[in-house]
Structure formats: structure tokens, C-alpha cells
Amino acid sequence: MRFFLKIIILSMCFVSLLACSKVEQSTIGEVHKIEFKLLYKSKELQCSDYEKLDAVLHDMRFFLHDIKFDQESLNLIKNEWQTNNVVLLDFKNAKRHCEQGALNSNARIQFSNSMTIGKKQTLSFVIGLPNHLNHQNPVKAPSPLNKSDMHWQWLSGYKFLRLEYEKDQQLNRFHLGSMACSGRIPNDVKCNTPNTLEIHNGDFEMGYSVIDVHLDQLVGVESEGLCMGNPNDKACALWIDALRDKTFRSRNLR
């Protein structure tokens, strides 16, 4: 047992040494990650916490696009969770994920820009999809834009965010997406209520900072339990404000 502990400690030192000795400028083509952490009442959620929450999270997924660090657009790696300019963050049914050993399905942005590690600047992104992608036929779209439960069929667009949780025996559903749309799909549509939210995270230190998602800010909203995207509805307005202003914060792990 002690022997194992030693190995673990030694290897941790080794990893941290590697991290400290990392070259300042990474090379082009190297894959970088920006991690997202789900927080509840300022505490990072671990699987073991899950039963203790006063709310049961059924779904928390959202699309981000136009992701920039120090005003430079990040070139996203194409994979199941990302196209070259869109990423789906997926904390859906965290409890079920936990049974499979992880808190989430996808909680990171992966990109390939050459980056200065340790540089402190603003990380910005937009919640939602750009209009030119929003009205495409989802069954022909690449992953993650092909997921039927992130599509808002009746509005011929996507759900930019779907948050569903049970609290005080009430099921709360917050779906956000572009509304008040007219024109012809897929390419000639204008939406008067785009419902895309621009988020700026200052003091983000590349390589050392993470983005916290303060779930309690959304779950804490005293809502009527249902928002289908219309900002004129009271429940929507409260959730949208909380999502834009209070939910995302950068945190430096150093």
C-alpha cells in the first residue's frame, strides 16, 4: 500500500514538473483544452455529492460558438462534440453518468491554436448557434448538430440550451433558442429574438484557468417552472439574466 502511495506521489510530482517546465509557446497543431466544471453552491460537483443536492439535475446541455481568447478565434478540433466552430457541452443526467464513472459526457473545448501558456486574457464565447447553422436540416448535420433532443423541431431551429431539473417536487424546464423567426429555411431566415448570449470571462489564464458553471444560479431562480425561450415570459427573463450574468466564471487553479 505504502509502495503504491509512493508511486502515486512520485508520478504526481513528475506530472507537475512537466507542467511547470512546459514551453511558453505551444506549437501549432497541439491540442489544448479548456475545461468546464459544474459547481453547486460554490462547490465543484463530484459524483459522490450527487445524492446530497436539493435539486435533481436531469439535463444540462448547451451549445457555444464564436469562442475567442484574447480576441483570437479558437480553431476547434472536429469530433463528436465539436464542429470547427461549435461545441456542445453536456452535463446531461449527471447521475447516470456517475454510475458509469464520470460526471459528464463532454465538459471541455478542444482547439489547436498555437497558444502562450500562462497568458492572462479574456475568454469569450456565445451561448447558442450562429444563425446560418440554426435552421439547417439536423438529420444531415455533423455531430453534435445531429442530436434530435437538442433540435427544436417546431421552430425549425435548435435548442441552444436545455436545462431540466426537479426541485421541491416540481419539474423545471428551461429551453432556449432563437424565436420570432421568418423567411425560408435553411439559409434565408431572420430571427428578431436570437436568444444568443455573449459571455466574457476576464482574467482567464491559458493552461491554468477553468470555467465554472454555477448551476445553483440557475436552479435558484424562483421561476414558474417552464421557459420555452420567450424572453417576455417572466420565467424566461429570470433564467436568461442568470445565465448571462451569473452562471459562468473563470477560476484559476494555480
Binding site: 444531415k140 434530435s148 433532443d149 417546431w154
Partner: protein, 378 residues
């Protein structure tokens, strides 16, 4: 009398029988009546026989719902001209849809789909709502694409039908939601109704319609009753298009059913095109459905709130319905957004009978019994 009838009607044919034009597509042709425009088929989804056959299997397959209770045909029964007889349709999990099921007769020609949806023009897109939609749940398959594909890969005769229908496509993507949608849309495009007594009359059979129905037709196309403004053309709806048409005309009408706040409001779950555009002028604006087979599709209106055709005539005769009490109370005839053709009219008892007789002459019995539209699993 016939010269008057020509108003709004297409040219009368010389033949006693319905002559069909065929739309050839290599190995397949769909017959549409001679007096119908050419069938619009999207360039990226040409018809073929296997695709239509596959679509028919999918259309009637309850395994494509969350609890194996509901297929497309559950709400679109051939014997009711592809409606379900309910005021408001019922989803697989007993969600009550806010609206009534629409007939699929001649749906290929519709310039917009759903009751009040200016964005959805193609069947390939429309069917994603009943399959995957969650508000309300209809078939309840949101997030279950993989499950569908596994089912279709295992269940005969799907694998061979997919192979035949999409032979030119990449074999690794043979069974996909895209192909499912294309096949279902193709089947729906073959649902053609154009052999009612009215059609037979139009094409030269003078005995096909009764005297009363002919008088009713005159009324239907008259400025007195004004039905034809919204329910005109070969498909008795102004929401239709055909392959030669370049500009899609999407029309929606407020038909004076409600006026909840005096400013034209409709019930919250049925605000018409407003729900999508949020344009105040679109409040209560719905598509004029086809009147073909209308005698088979009761109850009527987008929300099934009028149980009979007699009731529909009453509603239009007074220029809009008044609801005296309750949360929906209001004088629809004073709805500021109502279509100006809904101005009311007076009919004698005989004229009412004639008009109803004409509407009956739009029923196409052969259509509802067409073996090409029946359940292949039975």
C-alpha cells in the same frame, strides 16, 4: 350555368374518365389526375418505388414510438382521409396536442406544412416534429435516433427496402434518419386524392354531381359566400404550390374563431403563425386546409372546436363565432385581425343544404380505400 361555374375552376376536360398524367422517374411513376398540376418533387429526394414502399412501412409502424403505441397512421388514418376523428390528437404518452390532425390528401402540393408554420415547407423536415418533438410528445423519440437505426437494421423487411430505395448511396449510411425521412416523405407525396364526384364532373361526367351539389358549387364560388378565396384552386386551399411555381406563397388567415381580449387574441396554446414569427399581425393566423374529403375529417378547425360542417357554416354565416362565457369568451366577428372575406352571409335552408351537398361531393371514397395507402403490417 357552366359559364358561371368556370369562375375559379380549371378547364373542363373532354373525357368521361379521369385521365392521369404520370411523372416518370426512371423506375417509378406516380399517377396524378390530369387536372392537377405536376407533382412537386424535391431534387434531392427523387421518388422510386422501393422508397415509397419503405415509407409506407414506416408510416404504419408503431415501433417508431417510445412505447410502441403510435405510428404516423395513429393520427392519420386512411379511412378518415388521413385524420384521426379527434378534436385534438393524442400523443404516445397521452399528451394532448393543442391542434387537430390535418388531412394528408395531396400534401405534396402544400406550400407550407402544419397548421400555422411559415418555416416548414418540406415533408422531410415536417416529420421530425411528430417523431422527435417534445412539446407536446407525439411519437416521443427525442434522443433515440440510435435506437431507431438499430431497430430498422434488425427488423425485416427494412434492411432490404433501404438497400433497394437508396442503392446509390454510401452503404455505411444506408439506414439513417435522413433516409427514413426521405422515404416517409416520398410515401406521403403519393397520397393523392382527385377522384371525387366533383372531379368526375369537372372532367366531363355531367351526371356525377346532383343538382343540389351543383347549386352548392355555385354558392361556394360566389362573392356572396366567399369560400373560394381561401379554399380555392384544384386542392381547395390557397396554401398550395406546384413544381413550376417559383415563389412560394404562404398564406395564413385569422378566421374569427376567438377574440379573447378584444384585440384579437387567440388561446395561448393556439396563437397561429404568431407562435413562430411573434408578429402581432399573425395572431390567430392559420392555414386554410384542403376541403377535399372534408365530410370525413370532423371535427373541424385547427382545434377541433366545431363538431360539424353545419356548425362551420354557422360560424362563417355570422362572420365569426361568439363565445359567451369562460376564459375563451369573446366576439370573434369583431376580431380586428380577421380575414376580410369573413363578413357573414345569409343562406336559405335550401342553400345551406346545397352547399353541404357540394362539400360532400369532394369526398373521394376510392382514395380512402386505395390499397397503396393501407397498412402493410396487417
Amino acid at each position: 350555368m357552366k359559364s358561371k361555374l368556370s369562375l375559379g375552376l380549371v378547364a373542363v376536360g373532354m373525357f368521361g374518365l379521369i385521365v392521369y398524367q404520370t411523372h416518370n422517374n426512371k423506375d417509378y411513376s406516380v399517377s396524378v389526375p390530369e387536372h392537377f398540376p405536376e407533382l412537386p418533387i424535391p431534387v434531392d429526394n427523387p421518388l422510386n418505388k422501393a422508397k415509397v414502399e419503405l415509407g409506407r412501412h414506416l408510416f404504419f409502424d408503431k415501433n417508431l414510438s417510445i412505447n410502441q403505441t403510435t405510428s404516423c397512421a395513429t393520427c392519420h388514418l386512411p379511412e378518415k382521409a388521413f385524420t384521426d376523428g379527434r378534436a385534438k390528437s393524442l400523443g404516445a404518452l397521452n399528451d394532448r396536442h393543442p391542434r387537430s390532425s390535418m388531412s394528408l390528401a395531396n400534401i405534396a402540393y402544400a406550400s407550407s406544412l402544419n397548421w400555422a408554420d411559415p418555416l416548414t415547407e418540406h415533408l422531410e423536415r415536417q416529420l421530425l416534429t411528430p417523431m422527435f418533438g417534445e412539446e407536446p410528445v407525439e411519437m416521443g423519440m427525442a434522443g433515440k435516433e440510435q435506437q431507431i437505426i438499430e431497430y430498422l437494421s434488425d427488423q425485416q423487411p427494412y434492411p432490404k427496402l433501404f438497400k433497394k430505395a437508396f442503392s446509390s448511396d454510401n452503404p455505411s449510411e444506408l439506414i439513417s434518419i435522413d433516409h427514413l425521412a426521405k422515404a416517409l416523405a416520398s410515401f406521403q407525396r403519393t397520397i393523392i386524392s382527385g377522384n371525387a364526384a366533383y372531379d368526375q364532373y369537372l372532367l366531363g361526367d355531367d351526371s356525377a354531381m346532383s343538382e343540389s351539389a351543383l347549386k352548392g358549387m355555385q354558392l361556394f364560388f360566389s362573392e356572396k359566400v366567399e369560400c373560394f378565396h381561401c379554399h380555392g384552386g384544384f386542392n381547395f386551399t390557397d396554401s398550395s404550390t406546384h413544381s413550376a411555381e417559383q415563389n412560394f406563397v404562404k398564406t395564413f388567415h385569422n378566421n374569427a374563431l376567438y377574440n379573447i381580449d378584444g384585440n384579437g387574441a387567440y388561446p395561448k396554446d393556439n396563437t397561429g403563425a404568431f407562435a413562430i414569427t411573434q408578429n402581432p399581425n399573425d395572431m390567430g393566423a392559420f392555414k386554410a386546409p384542403t376541403l377535399r374529403n372534408i365530410a370525413l375529417t370532423a371535427p373541424y378547425m385547427h382545434d377541433g372546436s366545431i363538431i360539424s360542417l353545419e356548425g362551420v357554416l354557422d360560424h362563417y354565416a355570422v362572420g365569426g363565432r361568439t363565445i359567451e362565457n369562460g376564459e375563451l369568451a369573446g366576439d370573434g366577428s369583431k376580431n380586428p385581425l380577421k380575414n376580410p372575406f369573413i363578413k357573414g352571409f345569409e343562406l336559405s335552408e335550401q342553400e345551406r343544404k346545397d352547399l353541404l351537398e357540394f362539400l360532400d361531393s369532394l369526398t373521394d371514397e376510392a382514395f380512402t380505400k386505395n390499397p397503396a395507402y393501407q397498412d402493410p403490417w396487417e
